[in-house]
Symmetry: C2
Subunit: 117 residues, 2 copies
DNA sequence: TCTATATACCTTGTATTGCAAGGTATATTG
DNA sequence: CAATATACCTTGCAATACAAGGTATATAGA
């Protein structure tokens, strides 16, 4: 009857990761929203995508926290809002990566946990 | 002034992972809520903990979905609700682990992404 | 010219969830 | 007898992802 459906769970898993990945992309170079969306999808083969209804509010949240800063510019005849990583965003990104590594290891330990006590 | 605070972000990251880890623990043997909470905290050195306000509603959600099944028992003079993993939960867990591996790799790719194009 | 598509940004409403903070009840220890 | 640990539970709040809608411009093809 009802198939296994982990779609909403996948959303949960992506939660937070998107944020860290956006900061990581901006560390490399400034980018605009649409570009971030496409790049993320491409690098991760679709595993980490961001819907626009998620992306734009998220960018504003990151800006309000002082992690990134956006500026409107015209390039290639197109009006785009380019975001750059701020120092506070860099420090935050580094803290996030630290925690991410800890979480990865922690989950590995739980998943590998076998009956060997 | 305001320090970098990624506490709420950490919560985001834990989202979903807790669910997968609980199913993984129950794959090994049946456990009761309080035991799951303590075990998770211990295996992961506190990185993945579950507040009780999170745990018990979560266990009920997992049960409603047919992933696990709980039974009240008296052991060591204590009334405990033991949960066991159901077949549907096992299939789900395996799908989760598959996706988790993909996500881990995807994030690694984004984080390692350097100016080498 | 007209249309379709891609680019690029945005908003509203809904559903889901983690957690703080409260609770109950029993068993154990000092 | 008090404090602590065990073991479960509920309510209300805040945060967020997404669907589904929107606007506006540029480009390519008929």
């Amino acid at each position: 009857m009802d198939e296994v459906n982990i779609e909403s769970w996948r959303t949960e898993i992506r939660r937070g990761l998107i944020e860290m990945c956006i900061l990581a992309l901006l560390r490399r170079k400034e980018m605009y929203g649409y570009e971030i969306s496409k790049t993320l999808r491409q690098i991760t083969n679709g595993t980490l995508y961001v819907e626009e209804g998620t992306l734009y509010p998220l960018l504003r949240r990151l800006e309000n926290k002082g992690y990134i800063k956006g500026d409107w510019r015209i390039r290639e005849g197109k009006a785009r809002k380019y975001y750059e990583l701020r120092p506070k965003g860099l420090v935050t990104l580094e803290a996030m990566i630290d925690f991410w590594v800890r979480v990865k290891d922690a989950v590995s330990r739980v998943l590998e946990e076998v009956d060997d006590e």
